[in-house]
Symmetry: C2
Subunit: 293 residues, 2 copies
């Protein structure tokens, strides 16, 4: 089965209405090019507010279902397309998550995934905003396949990719917001970007799956004025089940990447490279430890 | 702490004496260039005999300790260098392993690692020859650091790399014998080679460790005459803890790669990218399953 997927790589502003309108315009264009699955980047309804810790930013959160699932749900239904959203979820007063929502092509909610691994670095203060996910690594069943959604920091953890694959994901999808510290040296920036790409391509290889990674672009200032902001590095891509690039977006520009993936290829690659046959599950127990003895 | 490591990328023949003599010559040259740790490729004392299933090939196996540990142990002691061997171990009649042995600089055996994941594909009939390892993923303590030895097919499994790192490995070392099927198309060959490189660089990233991978070169015919043999693809390399190349050998030639690694860099990279801080060990239990429900 072949499937046209679209990746919406965009910049975002403090103006939610404008940002969402731009995204919906890009979704329409992607669908006009044949996309049956549209993947949006992490926290795509506005700026990456985790650059500083500010209690007022919790005003940006929303319930699920809520305004974004209504608005994008109407688009999914109108266009008959499956859409992967990434939202700032308000679950209760004082309890928030970084949550992906998959909308079915009839506009209903097919399922949600709450980001399991939460980072916390200067300019990425996510532990202040998001409680780590409590839904585990469960693919979301849709009319276009079982979607293994993982979000940003999750991409550094082979464990999440592995469990998603074992639970039947047909592909892995990583909505992301990652970028350079403009003060870092160029060499360091390149090492970081390449490490990000390599790690996700390796998840494709280890699990014999297509991997779709959608990142934001553009510079966003640090609204607290402490740091130099983040230059989001784009480079959204699709990797095939041998880790090979099927599509690769630019570093600077907003882009609609439309890419056809072949879901049968996983079947073939896993026959050639039968990694799942030989896993030493009798010897992996220590992986559940925090550290060695 | 800085450490000069050497990777011996070579071709091998059916003549063990000649092959070992060449290896020892290359070890001498590596040490003359300052190497304190010399890493040999997988099953370096002869041809890659797993291209076909032949009971007579068990004659190539040897006990540990045995002839190779004696011979290379004398070299280690003479030169004052730590050496990583990869041997066909005869443990008992009818019980054989693919075993790495680390020799201390005084010539003694610092420790062994028995290959945990055993492949079996056309031209790589290892399940016929080797019982899967039963020593787990334990780094070997030496005067130059804790060596996380993993062998060839292990390199496709993030679980092995992870557990080695958590058990205190200062670096990961992959003796390997991998190559092209000469009948495959060029595109497929490139995908395979790149997947092999990416997967190991990603282990460096995920675990914040240097990774050393040593592969064989040259074409070896299929002694059973069924297939077109294997063209071993070289490309031995050293990656730093962000996955960046520190050294990268050619695809065709025998080479002695001498590369200085900085063991303090792991400390720094793990501070910047604190992946171990955030592992969701509460949610990884399914990784011990053979497959999802």
């Amino acid at each position: 089965m072949r499937l046209k997927v679209a990746l919406i790589q965009q910049s975002c502003s403090e103006n939610r209405t404008e940002t969402v309108a731009k995204t919906i315009g890009m979704i329409r264009e992607a669908v006009s090019k044949g996309a049956k699955l549209v993947c949006l980047q992490e926290l795509h309804t506005g700026v990456y507010f985790c650059q500083a810790e500010d209690v007022n930013r919790f005003d940006m959160a929303e319930p699920i279902p809520g305004p974004s699932t209504d608005e994008f749900g109407a688009v999914a239904k109108e266009l008959g397309v499956v859409i992967v959203l990434s939202l700032f979820e308000k679950r209760a007063a004082g309890l928030y998550h970084n949550t992906a929502v998959v909308l079915e092509k009839d506009g209903s909610i097919a399922g949600t995934y709450r980001k399991m691994h939460i980072p916390d670095d200067p300019a990425f203060y996510e532990k202040f905003y998001f409680t780590p996910g409590d839904l585990g690594f469960k693919p979301i069943k849709t009319s276009v396949g079982n979607l293994g959604i993982l979000v940003c920091w999750d991409q550094w953890y082979p464990e999440g990719a592995r469990i998603m694959a074992m639970n039947g994901a047909d592909m892995l999808i990583y909505p992301t917001a990652i970028g350079y510290n403009p003060d870092d040296e160029k060499d360091e920036q390149i090492r970081q970007r390449d490490a990000w790409i390599i790690s996700q391509r390796a998840h494709a290889v280890a699990n014999g799956l297509n991997v779709i990674s959608i990142n934001r672009v553009g510079h966003e200032p640090d609204f607290s004025g402490v740091c130099s902001g983040i230059k989001f590095w784009g480079n959204s891509f699709v990797a095939g089940p041998q880790g090979e690039f099927l599509a690769h977006a630019s570093e600077e520009n907003e882009e609609i990447v439309v890419c056809e993936i072949d879901l049968e290829r996983s079947e073939n690659v896993r026959r050639w490279w039968p990694f799942f046959r030989d896993r030493r599950i009798d010897a992996y127990g220590e992986i559940l430890n925090r550290w060695g003895r």
